[in-house]
């Protein structure tokens, strides 16, 4: 039976996961190899809600990788890729605060695929939008003085049409 690793979120909740899943996180992989996992690994920067999502991602991707190497990739290969991509697309349909937290967690825990996916999602949200629209979507306050703003628009006036 595969070894279990315990991960402890910043708000004290414990998550028991298979070692293979935990190893999807670079920082945890290092902790495992340095043998400091006996009493669970505390993750001070990750809340339970966020950690749950990260674990969900890692679990799914470990399963997908196992299926790919076990099964006949020629017949099932591309369907599986599409299925995984669809799963990924649904996975990131979360509210913004959670998306923000997942980005930070993916970076802190070193999960490259998840970091890539979430950053791409944010980029996609900005596609074709004006700066005002982007501020609305992301609840960002404009912090330029009128002079600064004029200078910025001047730089690339053509893009603001």
């Amino acid at each position: 039976m595969s070894k279990k690793i315990i991960l402890i979120s910043s708000d004290g909740q414990s998550f028991e996961v298979d070692e293979a899943v935990a190893r999807e996180c670079g920082t945890i992989k290092n902790a495992i190899e340095d043998k400091c996992t006996d009493n669970g690994i505390p993750l001070a920067n990750v809340t339970s809600a966020t950690l749950a999502k990260v674990i969900e991602y890692c679990k799914k991707h470990v399963e997908a990788a196992a299926k790919a190497s076990a099964g006949d990739k020629d017949i099932y290969g591309s369907n599986e890729d599409i299925e995984l991509k669809t799963w990924d697309d649904d996975f990131v349909k979360v509210d913004q605060p959670l998306l923000f937290d997942i980005i930070l967690a993916a970076n802190y825990l070193d999960v490259p695929g998840l970091l890539d996916l979430t950053c791409q999602t944010v980029a996609d949200m900005m596609r074709g939008k004006t700066p005002d629209e982007i501020r609305t979507i992301f609840h960002i306050k404009k912090d330029y003085t009128p002079e600064e703003e004029a200078a910025v628009r001047e730089e690339n006036a053509w893009a603001f049409m």
Partner: protein, 385 residues
């Protein structure tokens, strides 16, 4: 959610987002707030997709840009390019830089960044070495927007090379810091050339490819194809340049393309005399490096941009550019053959689909809405992979 939390996303993570934005989206996103602006200075957008630059009829100081990946057919307008621009012709592009030649004083050449309007003057052609004296201002000619001239530009170091072939004897070039043009002697007519990774690929009339290394002070030849052409090959493989029989395929242009991988392709465009049928043939070097073999498909994830001499790899997310296609314009008429001139002009932009073997006109509504003197593909922010 506390307001403006997103503006506090760590700068290095914000850069990861910015790198996934297209060129125009990047310009807009960086002006959202100060922290994002700061992050944008340390990153650059992801753009390997060619845009169109549409140059209006003579005497205008603006131009229009088209991003094929945007959902609507929006044209960006770049204004106030100055009187110089209005009176110049664009000969070549590299990244966001255009090589311009004055319309009347042909010896005035300069490089212009279409977005920042930064202008770099090139040495006057009149300062050319001894050739000028003996050849009667032979060099003060208006370049015909064809593949006899090219520019390469490094956005970071502002290093550049401008290369110009004066058929058939000389190649002249000027690099950053040069006060005059230097020359290299050639011994053959050259149909086309491409510059990539400090190498100049020259495609000669005899269907040989030479590679010159421009990374050192003096350019030197480092490679030449050694193909033995079998002139007794079957009739369908042989194209006649000037056959009297109008039922035969005639060659319109021969171009060189260097793929993302560095592999060299020859692209031949051919027309059936006296009809409207035209097509393309692509050849690549076989593994023994001594024979050209026909390439029937680029695969769905690659497209050729003939004017730029490059191929682009299409990411999963890019819309607007079709794979397995050749994008070309009328800017490379090597043959002043009036018989073939009806097929396209400098304002035409066309796509040849290798799969269906058909020619399409992309975005016809854009072209019908503006009066143009020239249309070209260019890749804003182009960074060689």
């Amino acid at each position: 959610m506390e307001p403006s939390r997103w503006s506090k996303l760590p700068s290095d993570l914000m850069q990861l987002v910015f790198e996934r934005l297209g060129f125009a989206d990047f310009q807009r996103a960086k002006s959202v707030c100060s922290p994002w602006r700061y992050a944008s200075k340390r990153s650059s957008p992801n753009n390997q997709t060619p845009w169109l630059i549409l140059i209006p009829e003579k005497g205008k100081d603006h131009c229009l840009l088209f991003d094929p990946e945007e959902n609507e057919e929006k044209l960006y307008r770049i204004k106030n390019l100055g009187v110089n621009f209005a009176n110049s012709n664009c000969l070549a592009t590299y990244g966001s830089w255009l090589l311009m030649q004055d319309d009347h004083q042909y010896n005035i050449l300069y490089v212009l960044n279409i977005f920042t309007c930064e202008k770099i003057d090139l040495p006057s052609m009149k300062s050319q070495l001894s050739i000028v004296e003996t050849e009667d201002d032979m060099f003060l000619v208006k370049l015909d927007n064809n593949r006899d001239v090219l520019i390469w530009f490094d956005e970071k170091t502002k290093d550049y090379v401008v290369i110009w072939i004066i058929q058939p004897r000389f190649l002249v070039y000027s690099r950053k810091g040069d006060k005059f043009w230097k020359q290299i002697e050639l011994f053959n007519f050259n149909d086309d050339m491409v510059y990539k990774d400090h190498n100049l690929y020259l495609y000669s009339w005899s269907r040989d490819v030479k590679v010159l290394d421009f990374s050192q002070d003096i350019p030197r030849q480092v490679f030449e194809t050694q193909v033995k052409y079998d002139y007794s090959s079957k009739p369908e493989d042989v194209f006649y340049y000037d056959a009297p029989d109008t039922r035969v395929w005639k060659i319109k242009t021969e171009n060189l393309v260097v793929r993302v991988t560095g592999e060299v392709l020859r692209v031949k465009s051919i027309v059936l005399g006296n009809s409207d049928a035209w097509s393309f043939r692509i050849y690549k070097m076989d593994s023994s490096n001594s024979k050209w073999e026909k390439l029937d498909s680029l695969g769905d994830e690659e497209a050729i941009f003939l004017d730029l001499g490059i191929t682009v790899r299409l990411a999963n997310t890019s819309q607007g550019v079709n794979g397995n296609s050749i994008y070309f314009s009328g800017n490379h008429n090597n043959y002043c053959d009036s018989d073939l001139g009806r097929f396209w002009s400098e304002k035409d932009i066309l796509i040849f689909n290798l799969g269906t073997q058909e020619i399409e006109i992309p975005h016809p509504s854009i072209f019908s809405s503006v009066q143009l003197s020239n249309a070209r593909w260019f890749v804003p922010n182009f960074k060689q992979m």
